[in-house]
Amino acid sequence: MVKIRTLSGCTACIAAVTLSAPLLAGEAESGKAIAYDSRRGDCLACHAMPTLPDAGPAGNSGPPLIAMTARFPDKQALRAKLWDATASNPDTMMPPYGKHKVLTADEIDKVLDFIYGL
């Protein structure tokens, strides 16, 4: 009896650890954090985000990211832009974040949700 309880206590413990690790990482890695991080999305290198006061100093190689829901009623079209911008514009300078595995699919979805709020 005692043995079993210890065992199940232990299992619960491990489960809690494995569950909480990605959750914590997920919290630290908000779409905004990924987009701002110069070694990850680095979106600010090329795009201003005029509605966010902490978004500077931004580059201007790409258009300012603003009013995204109005400009991209189809969210999947916006995701496609992040996945591989060269598909819709072969001459674009924008890196193909998904196609070249700069970001994972999950990270792209987070960045997508973040910029869709701009």
Binding site: L44, A45, G59, N60, S61, M93, H100, V102
Partner: protein
């Protein structure tokens, strides 16, 4: 028969176009920049990104009045004047005593079938006079030596020549490197220094390709000697592309193409860059 004649005609045409190609490339880019930034004089692109930013240009002029890297140039001059073991000097070895010649480099050496950069020519002098060549990317030796030796050509206009099929092949190879997208981020040199020139990448203003070859090495922040090949490596790293070692054939050919695009522009070694 008709087919044969046609094929022959095609060949002649291709050869004619090939000879004109470097000058076509050059003129097309000059026109591109004249339209893209009508308010900037092409001759001012020797100032790189500073050409787009009058305030930064003023700062540049201030630093250039009292270059903080004067000590490095003095060391380069010392190396230049120190005779080889056999008593001869670089000035004895290079054409015209090494004055007003740096703008002829890189040049294509038919006999060796390869591009020779100015740094290679300096090392060739060493070897021809029984000395060991310097390591290509050693800032303390070849770096400062080239900084001084190039300054003997200040005011010369870049004058890179592409003559003959083999030279053209090296030029074309450099051109492919310049326009090919590479690395995880999928950038080409042209992404940043043609399409992106004048834009900001984060806080950095991007310089145009025209004039980029006229002033090497540069002193970053006025202190750190950076050679043109060092710069190629930093720019490749930005694309998350694996850089070459300085002096690689790919870099030499890139420098050949890249320098041709600065033809006619005034040289000044060395300069301050941010």
């Amino acid at each position: 028969m008709k087919g044969l004649r046609l094929a022959g005609f095609g060949l002649v045409l291709a050869a004619g176009v090939a000879c004109a190609a470097p000058e076509d490339d050059h003129l097309r880019l000059v026109n591109y920049f004249k339209h893209k930034h009508a308010d900037v004089k092409v001759a001012d692109y020797i100032y790189g990104a500073f050409a787009y930013d009058p305030d930064a240009r003023e700062h540049y002029d201030g630093v250039m009045a009292f270059p903080p890297y004067a000590g490095a140039l003095a060391e380069g001059e010392r190396l230049w004047r120190t005779p080889f073991g056999n008593g001869r000097t670089y000035a004895d070895c290079l054409p015209d005593g090494g004055r007003m010649i740096a703008g002829n480099y890189p040049m294509f050496d038919e006999a060796r079938g390869r591009v020779v950069t100015f740094e290679m020519a300096l090392n060739d002098c060493r070897v021809a006079n029984g000395e060991a060549p310097y390591t290509y990317d050693d800032a303390a030796t070849l770096g400062v030596l080239a900084a001084y030796a190039r300054s003997l050509s200040d005011g010369m206009r870049m004058n890179v020549r592409v003559d003959g099929a083999a030279a053209l092949q090296a030029y074309e190879d450099g051109k492919r490197t310049f326009y090919r997208r590479v690395g995880q981020l999928n950038y080409s040199c042209a992404s940043c220094h043609v399409d992106g020139a004048g834009n900001r990448l984060g806080a950095e203003l991007l310089s145009p390709v025209l004039g980029q070859a006229t002033h090497w090495p540069v002193f970053r922040a006025g202190e750190r000697l950076e050679t043109l090949h060092d710069r190629y490596s930093s720019c490749f790293r930005r694309a998350r592309h694996v850089p070459d070692a300085a002096g690689s054939t790919r870099y030499n050919n890139l420098e050949y193409f890249h320098s041709y695009l600065s033809n006619g522009m005034e040289m000044k070694a060395s300069v301050y860059r941010k």
